[in-house]
């Protein structure tokens, strides 16, 4: 594996970078408080800029309005966006999660109705999967979907950790059409407007003071039959049909770049350490730098495997585990590694505190570190197989 890009690839990378630097508002992270109405408006405006700049469809196939970007170009795009500190945008859930599911399992009418507005950032989606008793064990979800393909459906139950629900027009949910011995069976996948009668949204306040997630309560909410995606009772298969590793690479590169920026804010202060503590500082920074570089190294290696036609399943789990743990430990280091006598200043540093508190979600969301370890142990290393087979 070599870092040597072709001339075309190098030009592509520069084109992305030039575009971002021209369009992106500098220091937006400082200007807009996460979760505030101004922050939401900024994120949506960014989504529209991505569409107008021709970047919104870079991960989509051409037949649905996407570009013909190669795997390397998609990687370079994600890398540059991360390095330049570009926002994720609110359209990301629709563009990167729902759209691939619709492309694979949606009806022609569903694709016609929803894909265009997603791409153009005209309609925004949130994801209604997790429930209070169904987080890591998502398949044990309890939300009910009564009804049939003739008369339509009615949903009752609760969802939690739904990002920005109050700022979205639509939600996609998993709900249980029937009970089954195998809990993955009987789950169905639905699309519905957030303002459907019977839906109540209650924002959740996080430990960092922001409210980026909500609870959603569904009280006998009507869903027409044409809003079922895939077969009735086969929704689990729809939800799991994503090629997860490219999104994982995008997220990891984003986390790595954010971690890098946060840690680099610390370096200036460490240069002021007294001489007797310089060795301590150098050792801590060396270790942290290794972890941060390792995220990028793992992402590049995953891409390399993909280009060689290998399935990068192993590296995808390693990347998620390593990148999220790196963000967490780096944010922690920012708070403990500080010049003598500045502890109060550090704890009053909103960006350092904010980064630390936000980092606590990285090892939980999108598959906890413990789940990643389970995946590595059981699916990659095959551990426990003999006992399971008995």
């Amino acid at each position: 594996m070599t870092l040597k890009l072709t001339e075309d690839e190098a030009r592509f990378e520069q084109r992305v970078r030039d575009w971002v630097r021209e369009v992106l508002e500098p220091a937006w992270q400082v200007t807009y408080r996460a979760g505030s109405p101004e922050w939401v408006a900024f994120q949506k405006a960014w989504d529209r800029s991505l569409y107008e700049g021709g970047w919104a469809g870079i991960f989509w196939p051409p037949e649905y309005g996407g570009t013909k970007a190669t795997a390397t170009e998609r990687f370079l795009y994600a890398k540059v966006m991360a390095e330049e500190g570009a926002p994720e945008g609110l359209a990301k859930v629709g563009r990167r999660l729902l759209a691939p599911m619709l492309m694979a399992h949606g009806t022609p009418d569903q694709k016609d109705r929803y894909l265009g507005p997603i791409l153009r950032a005209e309609e925004f989606w949130c994801q209604g999967f997790s429930e209070p008793d169904a987080g890591s064990d998502l398949a044990s979800l309890r939300m009910k979907a009564e009804g049939d393909l003739e008369t339509g459906f009615r949903l009752s139950g609760q969802k939690i950790w739904t990002s920005h629900a109050e700022h979205c027009e639509f939600v996609f949910v998993l709900a249980r059409s029937w009970e089954s011995e195998r809990k993955h069976d009987g789950i169905s996948f639905f699309l519905l407007p957030v303002e459907s009668p019977g839906i109540t949204i209650r924002p959740i306040r996080q430990i960092n003071g922001a409210s980026e997630f909500s609870e959603m309560f569904f009280d006998d909410v009507a869903v027409p039959p044409e809003n079922l995606v895939g077969e009735l009772g086969k929704g689990w298969h729809v939800a799991m049909s994503l090629l997860g590793y490219e999104r994982g690479v995008e997220q990891a590169l984003g986390k790595s770049a954010a971690t890098r920026r946060a840690f680099e804010r610390l370096l200036g202060a460490l240069a002021e350490f007294p001489a007797e503590r310089q060795a301590e500082a150098a050792a801590a920074v060396g270790g942290m730098q290794a972890e941060i570089l390792a995220v990028y190294a793992n992402a590049v290696r995953l891409l390399s495997q993909q280009l060689e036609g290998d399935s990068p399943t192993e590296m995808a789990s390693v990347l998620k585990l390593q990148s999220s743990e790196t963000w967490r430990s780096s944010a922690h280091q920012q708070l403990v590694l500080h010049p003598p006598g500045t502890h109060d200043d550090v704890l009053r540093d909103e960006s350092a505190i904010g980064d630390y508190l936000q980092s606590r979600s990285a090892t939980i969301a999108a598959g906890t570190s413990e789940i990643q370890r389970n995946i590595i142990a059981k699916r990659v290393l095959g551990m426990g197989r003999r006992t399971r087979e008995k």
Binding site: L3, L267, A290, N298, I376, T387
Partner: protein, 346 residues
């Protein structure tokens, strides 16, 4: 982007099969392996000359050597021969002024056993005396070191009495450079070339560390899947599954960092030295942790000499502490980042 390691795959597989035959089958055999016997077989098979393959269809030789070093480490026991030092010796002789073709030929053909004073690579030092332990010092016929005169590095062959040094790796006899030290000047080195070779040595060590740790890890996974207690195999217990997952993650991350560092060296990246320090620092730390874990997860069996796990553990302990040692590597990289005010970029 393309994968160069993929292109070397056949060569590495052939090497791995060869080396497996040279490695001691059990701990009791290790001490009896004659380094000259192993050296002769490696030379006969052309593996020492791998360091000389630049220009023979390889754009850069480092990716191949790194892959071979990992394969050398990934055996049931360490290779009882200073292969990394032999390769480095050949590259040093090739890089310095003067005609050393004959000496290089004698090393790759097995007629001379070369070693290197590792600490002297990371100078500047005026004399290599007392500069850390030297692998196969007494067994070697030429021990190469770098010393600095008038702020310029030069390659010397160390002559003089060797002093005893503590050994942790039974298949890697070591000694310290005695004092007074005789040093025969062989030629001058460009500072850039020396830095590249010092980085290469760090990458080779990292590769051997990873190979050895992977060998221990693979054995541990097999063991956990076979050993039963409380009516189930040990790998049923989630606590052990998670520890194994963390080891796997550390191994693969070490590998990724090593590949990244190798690529930056080959690409002539301005900060390739810092990537090399980072790769060695990370691998030297994580692989030792992995080795400790593997020993622990083998329970009482792992504590026996007969099981032989300690052989690779000893090699890992040696390489981690060998110049430039893992902690110093990370500290050097960290100091550079603080001085620069930013983390190095690929």
């Amino acid at each position: 982007m393309k994968s160069e390691a993929f292109e070397h795959r056949d060569i590495v597989e052939g090497f791995s099969t060869s080396v497996a035959g040279y490695v001691a089958g059990s701990a009791s055999d290790a001490a009896e392996q004659a380094v000259t016997t192993v050296g002769a077989r490696l030379a006969e098979s052309g593996w020492i000359s791998a360091a000389n393959m630049a220009g023979e269809g390889f754009d850069d030789v480092e990716p191949l050597l790194v892959a071979l070093a990992e394969a050398a480490g990934n055996q049931s026991a360490p290779l009882p021969f200073p292969l990394l030092e032999s390769w480095l010796g050949v590259r040093l002789l090739d890089a310095c002024t003067g005609d050393h073709v004959s000496l290089i030929d004698e090393i790759v053909s097995g007629k001379q056993l070369a070693t290197v004073v590792p600490e002297s690579l990371y100078g500047p030092v005026e004399r290599p005396a007392g500069r850390g332990v030297v692998p196969y010092a007494r067994e070697s016929s030429v021990a190469l070191a770098v010393e600095w005169r008038d702020a310029r590095p030069r390659l010397v062959a160390v002559d003089g009495a060797w002093q005893d040094a503590a050994e942790i790796d039974l298949s890697m006899p070591v000694a310290k450079v005695g004092d007074p030290v005789g040093a025969r000047h062989l030629g001058d080195l460009e500072a850039d070339a020396l830095e590249r070779l010092g980085c290469t040595y760090l990458l080779l060590q990292s590769a051997e560390l990873i190979g050895a740790a992977r060998s221990l890890f693979d054995r541990t996974i097999v063991y956990l899947g076979q050993r039963e207690q409380f009516g189930v195999t040990l790998d049923t217990f989630q606590a052990l599954q998670h520890r194994a997952a963390d080891m796997f993650s550390a191994l693969e991350t070490s590998t990724s960092l090593l590949q990244l560092a190798t690529n930056t060296l080959v690409a002539g990246h301005d900060d390739s030295a810092e990537f090399a320090y980072t790769a060695k620092g990370f691998a030297g730390t994580e692989c030792w942790t992995i080795a400790n874990e593997c020993l622990q997860l083998h329970g009482g069996l792992g504590y026996t000499w007969e099981a032989g796990l300690h052989q690779n553990l000893r090699r890992i302990a040696f390489r981690s502490g060998s110049a430039m040692d893992a902690r110093r590597c990370l500290a050097r990289a960290g100091a550079a980042a603080i001085s620069r005010g930013r983390i190095v970029r690929a």
